[in-house]
Amino acid sequence: MKNFLINSLVLFFLVNCASGPAIVPGKGAVYGKISAQSHKDIIAKASKKGGGIYSKKGEVVFTKQMVNYHQLKELYVCILDSSFAGGKDHLLIAEKDKMSHRSLAIAKGDRLWVQNNSNQVLTFFLAGQEDDIQVYSPVKPGERSVITVAQEGTLELGSDENEILMTTLFSRSGLMGQKHSSGGSYSFENLDPGKYKILFWYWRLGFIEKNIVIKAGVNIELNQVLSVDKIMASKNDP
């Protein structure tokens, strides 16, 4: 009985204190942190100089006019799984002068609902490159409408009647996304062994794509910082 308790405690610690999600037999997982930071040249200047937007501690002091990368709230981590055909529901809410989301990552085939909480009838559309467009039926105040997303790429959801109401969408086939604040932790668990792509996206910066191989019984830790220079460098990766 004593040995059983000790073994149970050891197992408990192994499962709960090991980094990353619990290991499921025959499955794997990827997990990590996503964050954003200023351009490397700005950080380098901050490390040398105080004054202005640079503190004496060598850090950037963010003012109201600046993009505070440490406080960004719409960073997306996405996994592309070819077995996922879409069909998930997402809801955007349109107020009188703003949308509930500035950005959203979705899969082609997902259903995108828009709730009209403004005081006028709104006709939403989802536009891609060139002439690709999907148009919602007009939505009365207090009602909602839906389309199934048929496009991929960086898309724009807008409305005919109010140009302020706009959300940028990131759409890929087989995409499953998680939204996090800068510094947040993500995980995709119970993955079948195989090859996957992980995409880290922020609407104003773009995305970084990483290839991973999931093996049975193994968790992969993959942390990513988003910044202009890191995204630019990733574009030049072979």
């Binding site: 200023s38 351009h39 040249d41 724009e156 104003r204 630019m232």
Partner: protein
């Protein structure tokens, strides 16, 4: 032929035309193209770019040009710029105090990161193809601009739908188009042949996709 002034009967339009005549040297045999942009449903779309492209683009020869964008007050000025492939854009940090910028674009038109732009700096990028894209300052959240690269030097940026004039257009076969930022709309191109006279009262239609 009626004068353009009597057809359009707009005092402001006369001023614009006179301004153009003084601003641009009049080319031999060149004419102007004028008219109006009409938007489906009367929608008051912002920032429409009327432009001419040669019907046969193989005859096109454009000398590279330099464009300048200022940044005073943490804003791009101009924040919409029309260029052609081969043109260079210079970003001048003319802030009146120590404010740093970092200008970048991750658009389909061009990926660039100009690094640290300190007060007094001049950073530049050359665009090499047609298309459009946004550029931003990574430091300041409201600093955003748009660049449109077209095979032409004949264009006019309209703040809203209405009258336009394109001066000094050489004779030839042209396609008149409108670039629309609002993604719900597109323009219907018109083919124009300019020979011995100007072309007036062109009606360009912008319709819903």
């Amino acid at each position: 032929m009626k004068s353009i002034f009597t057809v359009m009967n707009l005092p402001a339009f006369k001023s614009i035309l006179l301004l153009y005549l003084f601003a641009f040297p009049v080319l031999a045999n060149a004419h102007h193209l004028s008219g109006k942009v009409l938007v489906d449903g009367g929608k008051n779309l912002k920032n429409l770019i009327v432009y001419l492209e040669p019907a046969d683009s193989s005859k096109l020869k454009l000398e590279p040009k330099l464009h300048k964008i200022m940044q005073k007050g943490r804003q791009f000025n101009p924040n919409i710029i029309v260029v052609s492939p081969g043109d260079k854009i210079q970003f001048l940090n003319d802030e009146d105090r120590e404010i740093d910028h970092n200008i970048y674009s991750l658009s389909r038109l061009k990926n660039f990161d100009l690094g640290l732009g300190e007060r007094g700096s001049i950073l530049e990028v050359t665009l090499d193809k047609k298309g459009y894209g946004n550029f931003y300052c990574s430091v300041h959240k409201l600093m955003e601009g748009r660049m449109i690269s077209l095979d032409t030097r004949h264009y006019a940026i309209l703040e809203k739908p209405g009258n336009f004039i394109l001066p000094n257009v050489p004779p030839g076969n042209w396609v008149v188009k409108v670039f629309v930022f609002h993604k719900r709309y597109k323009s219907i191109p018109i083919n124009i042949t300019l020979e011995n006279s100007s072309h007036e009262n062109v009606e360009l239609k912008v319709v819903k996709k």
